[in-house]
Symmetry: D2
Subunit: 299 residues, 4 copies
Amino acid sequence: SLPDLDLTSGHLMNPAAPRYILSLSCPDRVGVVAAVSGLLASMNGWIVEANHHADPTTGTFFMRQEVLAESVPFGVDELGDHFLPIVDEFDMTLNIRDTSEPEPVAVFVSKHVHCLVDLLYRWQTGELSFDLKVVVSNHPDLRSLIEWYGVPFIHVPVDRENKTPAFEQMTSICDEHGVRTIVLARYMQILPPTMCRDYPNRVLNIHHSFLPSFVGAKPYHQAFDRGVKLVGATCHYVTEELDAGPIIEQDVVRVDHADAAADMVRLGKDVERTVLMRGLRYHLEDRVLVQGNKTVVFK
Amino acid sequence: SLPDLDLTSGHLMNPAAPRYILSLSCPDRVGVVAAVSGLLASMNGWIVEANHHADPTTGTFFMRQEVLAESVPFGVDELGDHFLPIVDEFDMTLNIRDTSEPEPVAVFVSKHVHCLVDLLYRWQTGELSFDLKVVVSNHPDLRSLIEWYGVPFIHVPVDRENKTPAFEQMTSICDEHGVRTIVLARYMQILPPTMCRDYPNRVLNIHHSFLPSFVGAKPYHQAFDRGVKLVGATCHYVTEELDAGPIIEQDVVRVDHADAAADMVRLGKDVERTVLMRGLRYHLEDRVLVQGNKTVVFK
Amino acid sequence: SLPDLDLTSGHLMNPAAPRYILSLSCPDRVGVVAAVSGLLASMNGWIVEANHHADPTTGTFFMRQEVLAESVPFGVDELGDHFLPIVDEFDMTLNIRDTSEPEPVAVFVSKHVHCLVDLLYRWQTGELSFDLKVVVSNHPDLRSLIEWYGVPFIHVPVDRENKTPAFEQMTSICDEHGVRTIVLARYMQILPPTMCRDYPNRVLNIHHSFLPSFVGAKPYHQAFDRGVKLVGATCHYVTEELDAGPIIEQDVVRVDHADAAADMVRLGKDVERTVLMRGLRYHLEDRVLVQGNKTVVFK
Amino acid sequence: SLPDLDLTSGHLMNPAAPRYILSLSCPDRVGVVAAVSGLLASMNGWIVEANHHADPTTGTFFMRQEVLAESVPFGVDELGDHFLPIVDEFDMTLNIRDTSEPEPVAVFVSKHVHCLVDLLYRWQTGELSFDLKVVVSNHPDLRSLIEWYGVPFIHVPVDRENKTPAFEQMTSICDEHGVRTIVLARYMQILPPTMCRDYPNRVLNIHHSFLPSFVGAKPYHQAFDRGVKLVGATCHYVTEELDAGPIIEQDVVRVDHADAAADMVRLGKDVERTVLMRGLRYHLEDRVLVQGNKTVVFK
């Protein structure tokens, strides 16, 4: 029988109560919302958040539904089984996540600490909810900080002449830890194409410019040389083409003639970590749906 | 029979194609979305935009649906009739608007031109879609500009000692023009309680501060005296209590010690008109649902 | 003898009181400020605003001083004569402007009204202080609006095959009206190199992207295709290289997946006019000093 | 003899080179800038940054000069002696700081870690330059983090019924450590009047609202109840009147109907720490001059 829902007690709206997040896309047509919401209603599913997007350019429909897990008499797999007929009928790509199973994440860093220190703080306080499996770096500098937080740290030096073994080791580390999402928190190495393909739309990078301006190295110095009045940062999924993957989030900060390139670096750091944390939040909450080289982000 | 929908021709996604906008609220429970979307699907309704909000504080559910008018074999009244059973079942407040019938609007102004000039430009270019019936002012100064735009202008002086006849005349003017929404584009008079009650959540005001700071007169001078580092503006529905109605939109702009009160006025003007135009757009597109003294704004 | 300065009366701080604006640059060294401020003090010059910038990259010093005209017993030419020894000694480029002589300006437009309508409003209300000599357009559409404001309008069609006569006519118009600054308020033609050279750092353009992203045609559509999360606008001086001149001001606005290219155009228009108006204000108040392809903007 | 200045070597522009920061205020009159810059030039003082502000309301002049220490043949005390005649002549309040002597700072915290973690990171990386003498808290929770950074931590419980001994202990701690500036990084206790008076304009607080809105306790919940569309934070100097001291810096972040009070708290935290860090930077670099209950902030 169905669970006894009691809204007045307010417990249903507990933000910490586990949820099933359904995110889907399909060719747009009449009846998609009715089919999905009808099925959810038939199993007593209590929707706490819902977002839709119909893309007129491609005729694609996107939807995200957050359903209280306790309102539904099924686990996540059985829930998925119930959706199979609809998935077929509407030619749907459907993903269901159980928020009580946090995403296993690896973080790759270099020597820059500003994004990492923010990530660790948000992870430790639970502001961002994920399972931080391991931090990997090509430098040993940040070991002590990471280990203070109780997170495994692995130093994988990258040999300029032969990067293959290093990235094979990193792939193994991710495999061993069951990692599903990789965060490049200012990791200054370019991932090999195989790794990009192994984690499609599951590697997040923070690029320190407002893309597509200033692709590649030293973007703040490029910005300084051009004399722009705002500098920015871009969180995007990593693809094989450098700094060209689907953009998840961007932001900027004002600079002026009195700001040297070093000031732009300093001011930009705050934007970088803010943008990376926002992008990561969207990703972890299954708010990002990718279509081609663009994203739908349900905020 | 149902209309022949042909997405590939792209005409369905014509942003100018008339739509029915359904906005509703009801006690939150399982099945609301299923009922509404199921009914819409049964009549072939093509949803182009949908937004939901479940308010955990009050247990109220809010929804806005934009449906292509040509996809449904009914006019707006008949459409409403089909929803009556659902309205009853879910104890729903439902409003349906046909976007092919633009909202009849009156604008009240004083001598300040900055909001008005922006409103006229957006109305003339069609960026904001409404039926500008009349502009009323207690000063004659702006007649020529308004009439250049082909809009009727009526000068209604307000006598400090006896405001009643003036506001009775303004009410008559609104009645004669079938006005449904009144925009106070820096109208410097306080509306009488009767008028507030006659147009519940249909009178928009722009207050030149970031409410609840600096209620009442000369807010920029209050801001200057307090030494704040940002000044703002607030678009809200007018209620009987001064500057205390439901807030629709707000924004701010940075100021510093070098800005005299006159500079704050100048900088603030740009925020005022931007905030008023955004608030008005949300209102005209039925994106604002009021609950108590707060708003849900589906952007 | 020197004028009788009476600060307590407050008249000195009247923002409308005429001022001499000195803007200068020279190789940086000890004593520049002392020399300039010492000379000003010797002639009783009352400084109401002062800004400095020492550029460490090039070793150049920039300064802007606003002096109350009535505090100095000289006209602008005589004032300049007194500075000649200092100009020589410090190898200085010095410009002095008398704010009681407003800048003669021509505006070039096409069919887009959004920047123009804002410019006309700010000019008419005196918010921006300049002498609007003439508006030139390659289309006749905006004649009526411009003439309502009492500004001469000249229609100069531009022949795609032979643009030379059109731009010669426009140069003549500017000459006849004594124009010193040209504002391209979304004028959709590319100025010929001769015209760029005739008005060095005196032609302001508004480009509808956050440069250097999306140079050239249809930047909003380029932005839409790339899937950026912010769109922007750039006010810059026009040089012979398209969209590559010194940047004066930039700003951005947030967009998301729900915004079609047409929405980006709509949202971007507000940024364009805001950025153009800010850039024009800085230019008119002699706050912009150009060094190479970059600007110092004393705000 | 004077030092041998060699700009071309670029060492003068080294941002890490020690500087003397002169900040002053005096009644506004002709000749202040000339006197100060003339004296600096006579001693070969190389000015790397200069800011002025003439306040028309009170007739007060404010100035800040950053001079390369190595360009001047004096220590900070001797430099001050040379300024005595000018200080007398112009009735000046003058402060000179040597940036090679970092400010001794104490931080007071409660249980909230978000501001502290940011402060520690910026202190450790040298992004903010000060001498972090001690962190004091009325809770033991953050000891481990603080000690990992190598900073002394002292737990001073505050007894609700008798706060006097606690604050006497804290005053002693500050005295022993030679503390000149106290940062309340979300310290949830109200300082006693004596402590406010002992550190005039030297205690920085971060209040979690856009003051003057929402003074006192639980400002995010007040903001939620009022239905505002932006929430903010304010960094101010602490005075005896709660949340009413001179404002140094403020900022806001957008919220909407979907944000519960808990979301506002989460979003606001990022604004709090950003605003506190900016305010602290301005304070540490002697950029904040207080006049009455307002600040001049030279950025």
